[in-house]
C-alpha cells in the first residue's frame, strides 16, 4: 500500500520536475460554496462521490482548481476522476501536483472545461475510490460470527479552500451499527447523514469513525499477471494468472463443513464470483497448478461471456487461492492496421468481479516475431519494464514482450490501452516456410540415405542378390513384351484371315519378327549377365528361351497353316482342327513359361 503511495508521490514529483505547469499555487480565491459528499461503504471499497460547487471569490479568472486527498486515506487512494455537473460523459483532466508549503499533502489539479470568471460558480463532480479503507475489527472471527469493520475518515471535506456548507452521507452495507461518530449525525436505516457544517476552514480534519457490520465479500486480487499474445493469423490469446485472497476478518478456530452446509453461517465467506469476459471470448479455461477447476459455469450473453467461477474451496477470511483463466479472441476486433503499421487496442485490466480490488497487475503483451517500433500508451500512469523476448512454437529470434506494471486498481481502471508497432507482413510466411524447409530436408535426407550405400564393407551376397533382382526385373519386362508379341501374331493372323491381305500380313509379320528377335537377343544378353551371378538362374532363363523358341515354332506353323487356308490349299474344317491342336500346344507352352517365370 505504502509502496503504491510512494510511487504515486515519486511519479508526481517526476511530473512536477519536468513540467512546471503542474506546479503552482492553490489559488486561494476559490471557495467551496456547497459540498455534498456521498461515502459509499456498501462494498469492500470506499467510494466517494463529491459534488462541489466552486465559486471564484477572487478578481481573476481561473482555469483550474486543486483537490486534496484526506491524509488518513491517502495511502489507500486508487482512483480519482472529475466531471462537470452539466456533462457527465466528459472527463476533466486530473493531474497530480505539488504546492510549496504543503509538501505532505497529495494534491491533484483539475482543469476546468472553461475559465471560471470572477464571481462565477460552477459545479464539479469528483469521484474517488479507496481500497482497503475498511479494516475488519475484530480482526479474527469464528465461522458463525458476522464480520464487523471499522471505517476511519474525515468528517469534513478535506480541501485547500474554505467550505461554506457541507453535508456527508455515509451509506453502509447493513443497518447494524456498533458505534459511530456522533457529531451532527443522523442515522437513517443503513445510512448516516453528517452535517450540515457551515464555514469549515481549509484543510480541516475531524475524526469520523464508523464501526458496523459488513458481510460483503472482501476479496482482493493480490497479484494479477495478464498475458496477451497477439498472432497475426487472426487470434489473440489472453491468459490471466490470479492470486486471490480474502482480506476480511480472519477465520478463528475451525471450519466446520457441517455448519457451512446448513448455510447458517459463514456469511462473510466467498463461495463464488462472476467474471465478465469479452463477448467474443472462445475456448475459455479455468485452471490451477493441479489441473482444471471443475466448478465453473459459462453463460454466453449477447454482449459478454459471463463466467461463474467457484474456487476449489470457499474463501474464508485470510484464505487465499491461485488460479488462471485463459481465452482466445478474434484479432479483428482489437487489432487495427494500415499497411505495416499496427495498433492493438485492448483493456489494460478487465473485469474480475464486481467492486474488484487489484493490488498489483503486470500486463505482458507478446507481439509477433519481428515487430518493431513498439509504443505503448495507457490512460493512466503505469511502470514500463524493459522489454523481454519470448520463445514459443517455431520461433527463431524471439517475440518481443512489452511489460507494464501498476498497483492498486479498481473497476474504474477498466480502460483501453493502445499499443502501436510495425510489422512486415512478409514475415508471416517465415514460419510456414520453416516447416516446409524442415520437411524438405527430412525427406531429402531419407532419399539420400535410401538411394546411396553408406556401408563401410561390401556385402557381396546381398549386392549380388540386388543385381540379380535388377536383371530379373528387366528380364521380366522383356518377357512380358515378348508374350504380348504372340498376341499380336494371333491378331495379325486373324486379320489376315478376314482381309486376306497377304502383303499387309507379311509386312506386319516382318515387323513383329524383328521385335521378337530384338527382345530375344536382349534376353540372351541378360542371361549372360545372370550367369555371372547365378548359374542356376541362367539355366532357368535358358529353359525359358527354349520354351520361347518352341512357341515361336508353333506360331510359324500356325502362320503357314493360315497362309494355306487363305490360299485355298486347305479345307476350313481341317484348318480348324489343326489350329486347335496348335493353340492347345501354345497354351501349354505359355503356361509352362509362366510357371517358370514365377519360380525365378
Amino acid at each position: 500500500m505504502n509502496r503504491a503511495a510512494y510511487e504515486l508521490v515519486i511519479f508526481g514529483a517526476l511530473l512536477a520536475s519536468c513540467c512546471t505547469a503542474n506546479q503552482g499555487a492553490i489559488g486561494g480565491d476559490l471557495v467551496n460554496s456547497a459540498v455534498n459528499r456521498q461515502i459509499d461503504l456498501t462494498s469492500q471499497l470506499a467510494k466517494f462521490t463529491t459534488t462541489i460547487t466552486l465559486e471564484n471569490a477572487g478578481k481573476t479568472a481561473t482555469t483550474s482548481f486543486v483537490l486534496a486527498i484526506d491524509p488518513s486515506l491517502r495511502d489507500r487512494l486508487s482512483f480519482i476522476g472529475a466531471t462537470t455537473k452539466d456533462d457527465e460523459a466528459e472527463k476533466l483532466s486530473v493531474t497530480q501536483t505539488t504546492v510549496p508549503g504543503r509538501t505532505t499533502d497529495v494534491l491533484f489539479r483539475v482543469d476546468l472545461p472553461k475559465a471560471l470568471g470572477a464571481g462565477q460558480s460552477t459545479t464539479v463532480n469528483v469521484e474517488e475510490a479507496y481500497t482497503h479503507a475498511q479494516t475488519p475489527y475484530p480482526a479474527q472471527i469464528t465461522q458463525a460470527e458476522d464480520q464487523l469493520v471499522l471505517f476511519k475518515g474525515n468528517l469534513h471535506f478535506y480541501s485547500p479552500y474554505k467550505t461554506q456548507s457541507e453535508t456527508t452521507t455515509v451509506k453502509l452495507a447493513s443497518n447494524k451499527i456498533e458505534s459511530h461518530t456522533k457529531t451532527k449525525a443522523k442515522v437513517e436505516d443503513s445510512s448516516i447523514v453528517y452535517g450540515p457544517f457551515e464555514n469549515v476552514e481549509a484543510f480541516s480534519q475531524e475524526k469520523l469513525q464508523i464501526h458496523y457490520e459488513n458481510n460483503t465479500p472482501f476479496l482482493a486480487v493480490t497479484s494479477l499477471v495478464r498475458v496477451i499474445e497477439v498472432s497475426h493469423w487472426g487470434n489473440i490469446a489472453v491468459e490471466e494468472t490470479y492470486d486471490v485472497r480474502h482480506s476480511g476478518a480472519r477465520l478463528k478456530g475451525s471450519f466446520s463443513r457441517y455448519d457451512y452446509q446448513r448455510q447458517l453461517d459463514g456469511r462473510s465467506s466467498v463461495k463464488s464470483f462472476k467474471t465478465i469476459l469479452p463477448a467474443a471470448a472462445r475456448d475459455v479455461y479455468y485452471r490451477d497448478e493441479i489441473g482444471n477447476i471443475s466448478t465453473s459455469n459459462l453463460n454466453e450473453q449477447d454482449d459478454a461471456v459471463e463466467l461463474e467461477l467457484r474456487p476449489r474451496f470457499p474463501l474464508f477470511g485470510g484464505w487465499k487461492t491461485h488460479y488462471y483463466i485463459g481465452y482466445n479472441l478474434p484479432s479483428y476486433e482489437y487489432l487495427y492496421n494500415s499497411g505495416d503499421e499496427y495498433a492493438l487496442q485492448m483493456r489494460f485490466v478487465d473485469h474480475v468481479y464486481d467492486d474488484q480490488v487489484i493490488d498489483d497487475i503486470t500486463v505482458k503483451i507478446i507481439l509477433p516475431e519481428g515487430s518493431k517500433n513498439v509504443d505503448l500508451s495507457v490512460p493512466f500512469p503505469v511502470d514500463r519494464h524493459p522489454d523481454e523476448l519470448h520463445f514459443t512454437y517455431l520461433d527463431t529470434f524471439g517475440r518481443p514482450v512489452v511489460i507494464a506494471h501498476k498497483s492498486n486498481l479498481v473497476e474504474q481502471h477498466i480502460q483501453d490501452f493502445t499499443l502501436r508497432y510495425s510489422f512486415q507482413k512478409l514475415l508471416l510466411l517465415q514460419e510456414p516456410l520453416l516447416v516446409v524447409f524442415a520437411f524438405y530436408i527430412l525427406f531429402f535426407t531419407v532419399i539420400i540415405y535410401v538411394r546411396l550405400d553408406f556401408a563401410i564393407s561390401k556385402d557381396e551376397a546381398s549386392e549380388s542378390r540386388m543385381r540379380m533382382q535388377g536383371l530379373l526385373d528387366q528380364l521380366q519386362a522383356a518377357q512380358d513384351k515378348r508374350t504380348s508379341l504372340y498376341q499380336r501374331y494371333e491378331d495379325a493372323i486373324a486379320k489376315f484371315k478376314s482381309t486376306k491381305d497377304l502383303a499387309g500380313f507379311t509386312g506386319s509379320r516382318k515387323k513383329i519378327d524383328a521385335e521378337h528377335k530384338e527382345l530375344s537377343s536382349t534376353i540372351k544378353e541378360l542371361q549372360g549377365k545372370l550367369k555371372l551371378e547365378s548359374t542356376d538362374m541362367a539355366e532357368k532363363v535358358g529353359e525359358l528361351q527354349k520354351l520361347d523358341s518352341n512357341l515361336k515354332d508353333q506360331i510359324v506353323l500356325s502362320i503357314s497353316l493360315a497362309e494355306k487356308v487363305v490360299a485355298g490349299k486347305m479345307g476350313k474344317q481341317q484348318y480348324i482342327d489343326n489350329e486347335k491342336v496348335y493353340s492347345a500346344k501354345r497354351e501349354d507352352i505359355m503356361g509352362k513359361t509362366e510357371t517358370l517365370l514365377s519360380s525365378l
Partner: protein, 791 residues
Amino acid sequence: MAGESNIRTALSNPAGWQSLLSFSILALAYLAAFSSRLFAVIRFESIIHEFDPWFNYRSTHHLVNYGFYNFLNWFDERAWYPLGRIVGGTVYPGLMVTAGTIHWLLNSLHITVHIRDVCVFLAPTFSGLTSIATYLLTKELWSQGAGLLAACFIAIVPGYISRSVAGSYDNEGIAIFALLFTYFLWVKSVKTGSIFWAGCTALAYFYMVSAWGGYVYIINLIPLHVFVLLLMGRFSYRIFVAYCAFFILGLLLSMQIPFVGFQPIRTSEHMASAGVFALLIAYGFLKYLHTHLSSLTKSEMRSLFFFAVAASAAAVLMAVVYLTYAGYVAPWSGRFYSLYDTGYAKIHIPIIASVSEHQPTTWVSFFFDLHVLVCTFPAGVWFCIKKINDERVFIVLYAISASYFAGVMVRLMLTLTPVVCILSAIAFSNVLERYLVDDTPKVHHIEDESEDDEEGDKRNKSKDLYDKAGKVRKIRHEPSGEPESLGGNVKTIVVMAVMMILMMFAVHCTWVTSNAYSSPSVVLASYNHDGSRNILDDFREAYYWLRQNTDDHSRVMSWWDYGYQIAGMANRTTLVDNNTWNNSHIALVGKAMSSNETRAYEIMKALDVDYVLVIFGGVIGYSGDDINKFLWMVRIAEGEHPKEIREGDYFTPQGEFRVDKAGSKTLLNCLMYKLCYYRFGEMQLDFRTPPGFDRTRNVEIGNKDISFQHLEEAYTTEHWLVRIYKVKKQDNRVRLDHTVRKTDIKPKTKFTSRKSGKRKRGFIKNKMLIKKGKRPSSKNKKPSRKTSSKK
C-alpha cells in the same frame, strides 16, 4: 511408354506393396495404441492419475527444474518426515530421464510443451513403440503377418492398457516397451550370434534396468533360455557369443544405475545369470578340449563330457550357496519369496499384502484383461513347440514363466500380456493363412516354396502379388506341409468366425478401456439418472486447500496411500508415502490412527504433526476410504507394537468389524474413527435414514458424540471425502478434563511455600529446633504449628 511400364512394375512389385502395407498397418496400430489410451484425457483432462504417478511427476518436475545431477543428489526433506528420503538413490530414473529428455528436446526446438503434458502422454507414446517392438519380436519368431497381428493385439489389449493410459505416468508404461525391445534384440542376437546385436541387447537391458525393477525378470529369463538350450543340446557358438557379450556388458551397465548399484553381484536374484555364464564358459571350454582330445572314443567322450558339465554345474550351484551362507550374497528378498508362496506376504509383510494389486489374480481378470487371447494363446505355444527352434524355446519359456507370475499377482498380468499377444497372433496367423488363402483359381501352385512365402501374410489375398515373393523372404522355416484342399464354404465359415471373434475382441477392449481403466481416480465422476455427469473433485479441493492455506513447512499425517498425492498436489511435508521403505515409520502412523486421542496426540507431538488428513467415503458411498483400510493400519501397527495395538480389540466379540453401536469400544474411540465421523452424527443425508448413516457401510454409526481435545477441524471437502484436522499446539497448562472433586474435608494445612516464608534458605524436615537454654519441644513439626495455633 517406358515410364508407364516403370510405374506398372513399381505397382506390381510385391516387395514394395508388402512394405507399404506393413508400414501402414504398423502406423495404424501405433495410432490405435495412442488414441485408445486417451479416454481419460478426453473425459476429464490432462492430469496425472492415481498415486505413484504423482511422485514420478514430482521428481520429473525436479529433474526438469534443477538438472540431472541435482536430481541424482536430491534429498527430499518433504517426505518421510523427520527421516527424509534420498530420492536420487532410491528411484529408477529411466522414466523421469525419458520424460525430461523429451521435454528438453521439444523446448530446445521452441515447442513449449508443459512437462505435465509430456508426462501425461508419455505412456501412450511408448505403447505405440511397444506395438512396434512386438511386431519386430514376432517377426523374428514367426512371420511378418503374425508380427502385424501381434502389434495390433498389443495396441489395444486391456491388460496392457490398464497400466499405460494417458496420465498413468508410471514405470510400467515405458518398461514394457524396454522389455519387449530387449527380447527382440536378444532373439536377434541368438539368431545371428553377432556381438553387435548382443551389445544392443545389453543397451536395451540397461534402459530397462533404469526404468523398472522388473528388469530382474529379464536377467533371469535370458539365462534360463540359455540353460534350457544347453539342456536340449542346442549349444552353438552363436549362443555363446550372444550370451557372454550380453551378460558382461549388461552387468556392467546395470551397475551404473545408483539404485541398483552392487545388487547384480550381491543378491541371489542375479546369481542365476552369473551361474549360467560360468556354465556356458565351462561348456565352451569342454567343446574346445573336445577338438584336441580326438584319441578318446565317442562314447567315452560323451560320458566325460556329461560328467564335466554336471560337475561344473554342481560347482556353480555350490559356490552360490556358499556365498549366500557366507553373507557375500544377499538371500532372496521378501518380495520374491512372496512370488513362490502366496501366503508369505500376508504373514510377514502385511504392507505388501495390503496393496490390492499384489493379490493373486482371479480367473475373471484373465478374461477381462485378455479376452479371446487367453484361449488362443495355448495354441500359439503349441505351434511354437511343434516347430521348435532356438528362439521359439525362448518365447515358450517366457510364456510359461509369465503365466505363473501372472497367476500369483494381479500386477504381473502386465508381463504376461505381451507374450499372450505374440502367441495368439501366431495362432491366428496360422489359422488365417490356412483358410484365407484363395487357392482355387491357381491350378499349378504345387511348389512348397511359394506356399511357404505366403505364410503369415493373410492380408495379401491376391496371389498375383506373389509372383516374386521369394526375393523378399527373410524367414525360412520348414514347409508347412501339403495343405489339404478345403471346400470354399468351410473356408468362408472359418474366416467369418475368426473375424467375428477378432471384432468382438476389439469391442471388448474398447469397452474395458473406457469403463475400467480410464478413471484418473483423483477426480471421481458420478452419473445422474438423466445421464448428466457430476464431478467429485474433493481430493484436489482438499489438496489445493492445503497448498494455499497452510504454512509451507507444515507436516501432514495421513495413511501412506495419500503420501505421494499430498506431496505432489499439496506440496506439503508428509510422514509416510507410497514408497513404503520404512515399515516401522508406517507402523507408527498406523498406531497413531488406531490409538485413542490422547495416545495419538503424544505420537503426533513426537512427530511434529500439524495436520491430519483422512479419507471418508460415508457421505457419498466411496468404498476406498480409510475406515475400510483401517484393519490394515491396525495390522501393520500391531506388527511393530504388539503390546499396544491388538487386532482383536477392534472386532466385536463375534469377530466382526463393525462401526455401528455394536462395534468394539476400542474402535469407536480410536483416532481414525473419530476423525472420520466427527459431527457426522448430526448429519442427515436422507429422510429415510437416521442421522449419521454411513452410506459406504450402510449402518448408522455407533459413536455420534465425538469431541476433540487436541485437534480441530481445519477443512472438510464438499462431499466430506477428505477431512483435514489441525493438531493444536500444546496448551501452556494442561487443563484437567474433569472438574476437581469437592469435599467437605477442610485441608488441615494450608500450603505455603517455604521459599516465600521467613526462612528462604530451605529447611530440613523434622529437624530439632534447638534454642539455647530450652528443652527441645515435642511439637517440633513446623508445618502444623500455624494451624494448631489457630485452634
